[in-house]
Symmetry: C2
Subunit: 271 residues, 2 copies
C-alpha cells in the first residue's frame, strides 16, 4: 500500500507496539509502504523520539545482513522508581492483612492497568538479556508472568501445585512451601512444555520463606535449564533460602489492629 | 507539549492502543498538544482509517457533555473467521491427544502471540456490550481471561478449584466436573473479589460435559451477578448441560492411532 507519511507513522507505531522484541528488516517497511529507505529511517526517528518522550523504550537499529529495527519496551530507571511507588502507595492505602498472614493483592493482580504496569516494570530489567521462557507457578504468579511475557514476547510455562496435571507426562518435585513447617508439597510441570537449555526468568507473586522459589529453581535444573533471574511481586521477610531473587516490594511492617500492611520498595532496583 | 502533527499521530496511536474502551474527551488531546480541536479531529480521522485498514477496530466518537473518543478494538466478522482458522490449523497439524482424552493446548495458551489473537477474537464479540468483569477458573482459563481483559479493559476474577484459597473469606460451591461420573469437586471464590450486580463474561479453556461452566454460572448467582455470555476455547462434545455458551473451536474427531485431533470452528461466530 502506498500511503502518506502521517498514515505510515500510525501504521508503524501499531506494528512496533504489537511486536516488541522482534527484529524487522527495514526492507519490510520500505516494501510494504513503497517508500524509500531514507523516508523509513526518518519515520523511525520520529517514532523513537515519541517513544522516548513517553519513557516507554526505544527503537534499536541493528546493522548487517540480519539487521533491522526492534522495539525494546523499557521504562528508564528513574521512571521505574516512580512506577513502583504507585504500586507501593496503592498497597499501603487499604486493608490487606488476611488470616494466616496472607496479603490481599488480587485487586492489583487481576486488573489490566496494574498488570500492564507490573509487566513493563519487570520486563524493563531484562529487555536486553537473553530470556526465552518465563516460568511461574499457579495460580497467582500466572497473570504477572503473562504480563511480562507480553512485553518480552516470549512464552511462559506454568508449574502446577497439584499432581492433577492434564498435560501428559510430567516432572514433579517436592518442596517446602513454608520454612516454618516441615510440610512438603508437590509441584509438577509437563515434560513437553520446556526445552532443555532454556534461559528462564522465574516469576511468583509472593515470597515468604523462599521455599516455592527454591522449588522452581530445582524444577529448572530438572529441565537442564538456566535461571537468569527470579522476581517476586511482594516479599515478606528477608530470611529467604535463596539469595539471588529480586522483589518489587517488601513488607516493612504489619498492623494486626488496622489490618494494614506497610510496604517499601524491594531490591528490584538496587540489587 | 507542542509537537508536529506527525509526532502527535504517533503519540495518539500509542494512547489509544494502551487505553482501549476508555472514553477520552477531545479537550484532553487539544490541551495536551496545544492544538485546535479541528486538528485533533483530522488526526482521529487518519488514525481510524489506519485502524480500519488493519482490521483492528475503530475510534468511536461520542457527542455531548460526557462525550469523547474511544478506541474499540474489534476484528470485523469476515476477519474473525480467518483468525479462527489460523488457530484451527495450528491445532490440527500436530499430535495433541493425551491419556484420559485430554487435549494438549498449552503451547497456544502460553504464547503471547496466540494469546493476543485469542483475546482479540473473543473481545470482538463483546466490545460494545456492557461487561464489567471476566470470570474464569484456574489454571488454564486464566491466560485466556487475561488476554480478553486486556482488550476489554476490565478486571478478571479467578475461581479456584482448591479450597486452599489464601484470600480471606470465600464462597464455595460443589460441582460435577465430568458428566460421566458422579464425582463432586469444590470451587471457591473470595468474597471481596466480586461486587453484587456485576455483568460477567465467563471464560474457560475446555468444555466437555459443561459441569465446570455450570458451576461458574451458579457461582455468579451466589454473587448476585449476571452472566452476559460464556465462552470456551475448545469444546469436546455437544452434550453440554448448558446451552448458552460459545466455543471458538470444537473437536470433530479424534484419532487414537496418530494422537491427532481434528477440530472445526465452534459456534462462536454462528450462534
Amino acid at each position: 500500500m502506498k500511503i502518506k507519511r502521517s498514515e505510515r507513522l500510525v501504521d508503524m507505531t501499531i506494528f512496533f507496539l504489537e511486536n516488541p522484541k522482534k527484529i524487522t528488516p527495514l526492507n519490510f517497511f520500505s516494501e510494504k509502504y513503497q517508500a524509500a529507505k531514507s523516508s523509513i529511517s526518518e519515520d523511525l526517528t520520529i517514532i523513537t523520539s515519541i517513544f522516548e518522550e513517553n519513557k516507554m523504550g526505544a527503537l534499536i537499529t541493528y546493522a548487517g545482513a540480519r539487521g533491522g529495527v526492534e522495539y525494546q519496551p523499557q521504562i528508564e530507571e528513574k521512571e521505574l522508581e516512580k512506577e513502583l511507588e504507585k504500586i507501593k502507595n496503592e498497597i499501603n492505602h487499604s486493608k490487606r492483612l488476611l488470616p494466616g498472614g496472607y496479603i490481599y493483592t488480587s485487586d492489583l493482580l487481576s486488573n489490566p492497568e496494574w498488570l500492564k504496569r507490573i509487566g513493563k516494570i519487570i520486563a524493563s530489567k531484562y529487555i536486553d538479556q537473553e530470556i526465552d521462557t518465563i516460568m511461574t507457578i499457579s495460580t497467582k504468579g500466572v497473570p504477572i508472568a503473562q504480563a511480562v511475557a507480553y512485553q518480552l514476547n516470549v512464552p511462559f510455562v506454568i508449574v502446577r501445585k497439584s499432581s492433577k496435571v492434564t498435560e501428559g507426562s510430567t516432572v514433579s518435585i517436592n518442596y517446602q512451601p513454608r520454612s516454618s513447617s516441615q510440610e512438603v508439597e508437590k509441584m509438577a510441570l509437563s515434560k513437553n512444555s520446556l526445552k532443555a537449555g532454556s534461559k528462564l526468568l522465574l516469576i511468583d507473586d509472593f515470597l515468604r520463606g523462599g521455599g516455592t522459589m527454591a522449588g522452581l529453581e530445582r524444577m529448572a535444573e530438572e529441565f537442564e535449564s538456566e535461571v537468569v533471574d527470579a522476581v517476586v511481586f511482594l516479599e515478606h521477610d528477608s530470611q529467604a533460602s535463596i539469595e539471588d531473587y529480586r522483589s518489587l516490594l517488601k513488607i516493612q511492617s504489619i498492623d494486626p489492629e488496622t489490618l494494614k500492611i506497610k510496604v517499601e520498595l524491594g531490591n528490584f532496583l538496587t540489587n
